[in-house]
């Protein structure tokens, strides 16, 4: 790929897309410590958005709100035409299971389950029978070139292998949005690049929206655009014009 082609792709990414996921004036406090102090942003369908900021800036909290894991104290989070910040834990749980995929720095794989069982787990949770779930899980592992790991358990894998299995698990339900919080934080550069390249490739192919939280600008560079959080607020200048609140 030439640089000129890359530059063209850059302008493609800035094409206006209808907002799929949005936060409006979101405020979250942990006890007396404010984590988010009124954040407004939106994400279009199929976009890969990096949320960056220093540690403690509130970027992870924003991801938790957008993913419906955490309910904001003030403000609302919308997914399509649903106001998910107003929904019950059970409803948000179902939403996450069906429409979202999550990817964390570590710990998301069940250490006792094999790779293929870990990938099949979200399908089993949605009531898919064991055999078709296993077949689908194997297909995803194969797609990522890690079919040989199918029967390994997470403690036997390297960090990079574990995260690739985790990407397969996040994608197995063919989610609308994938939320990734420092997915390569515990990996060395090359293993991290493999995971990110794999994540970006499959989500672009499937048209999946990705929210990628990271403190590392090299990771953020995998996204189409960047949202900068500073001290619990959106840094509008650093984020750029495309995300200024339009009211």
């Amino acid at each position: 790929m030439t640089v000129a082609a890359a530059l063209r792709a850059d302008s493609d990414a800035e094409m206006n897309r209808s907002p799929l996921l949005s936060a409006r004036s979101v405020v979250v406090s942990y006890g007396r410590t404010p984590a988010l102090r009124g954040v407004t942003m939106s994400v279009g369908g199929g976009e890969i958005v990096a949320v960056t900021g220093a540690s403690g800036s509130g970027k992870s909290t924003l991801l938790l709100c957008l993913a419906g894991i955490l309910r904001p104290d003030v403000g609302e989070v919308r997914f399509g035409d649903r106001v998910i910040s107003a929904e019950s834990e059970a409803a948000r749980s179902r939403l996450r299971r069906r429409e979202f995929g999550v990817l964390f720095q570590f710990g998301q794989l069940v250490p006792e389950l094999s790779a293929v069982e870990n990938v099949a787990l979200p399908l089993l949770l949605s009531g898919v029978r064991r055999r078709p779930a296993t077949t689908a899980a194997l297909e995803w592992l194969d797609r990522f070139g890690i079919a040989d790991l199918a029967d390994s358990r997470p403690p036997q894998m390297s960090g990079g292998q574990g995260q690739r299995v985790a990407v397969a698990r996040a994608m197995v339900t063919e989610p609308v949005v994938v939320f990734a919080d420092e997915p390569t934080g515990a990996l060395d550069t090359l293993a991290g690049e493999q995971v990110l390249a794999q994540l970006v490739r499959v989500t672009r192919e499937a048209g999946t929206t990705v929210i990628l939280v990271t403190h590392d600008t090299r990771v953020a560079a995998y996204a189409d655009r960047e949202v900068v959080i500073r001290d619990g607020m959106l840094d509008e200048v650093a984020t750029g014009s495309s995300d200024r609140p339009t009211s």
Binding site: A5, D10, R218, A220, V237, A238
Partner: protein
Amino acid sequence: MGVEAQGTYVGLRTCPTLVGLRLTDTSHTVNSGLVSTSHLVLGLLARGERHGYDLKREHDLRFPSARPLAYGQIYATLERMQRQGLVDAVSRERVDGPDRTTFRMTRQGRKELTTWLAEVETPAPFVTNLFATKVTLALLTGDEGAAADYLRRQRQAHLARMRDYTRVKTDPESSLSQVLAADYALSHLDADLRWMETALDRVTGLTEEMP
């Protein structure tokens, strides 16, 4: 050593930090930013004898983001290297045009190449930092807001460029040398960005420290 002094330089850029921003020139920016044509030619001759035109073609192929070498420049370099005993003219052939001389590396040439490749480059003693200069000058004019604003927008521009390089890097059709060049550029842009982050924190938090 004598060779280096007489070398013709390619990839010359006056501001090393800005070099990273020019997509046309990264692979030839080793630390001090300069690689002599002699060493380039020696390196390209390492895999066997070549004539001048082959050398030019191979250079342009292997270093696609570098400025193409002029044939005349290669010819002049080869002549000089022959006088220094670094290369030998092997044969002269004539194919519907001017003479074509094939060159090969001498034992002395290989020694020079090996020494040069193994030599540790002196890290640049200081970096001429355009951003730092701008920020400092903005602060001297008493406008912290402008300095911070500039840093934020510069950060945005840097990240946009990093995205371009990341696309090159992740494109399955990119060659290894393209990926390596992109890695190099990304590392430098990332270093700039980290500096900007720190500078932004200092500017917004510690303006009173400016004398």
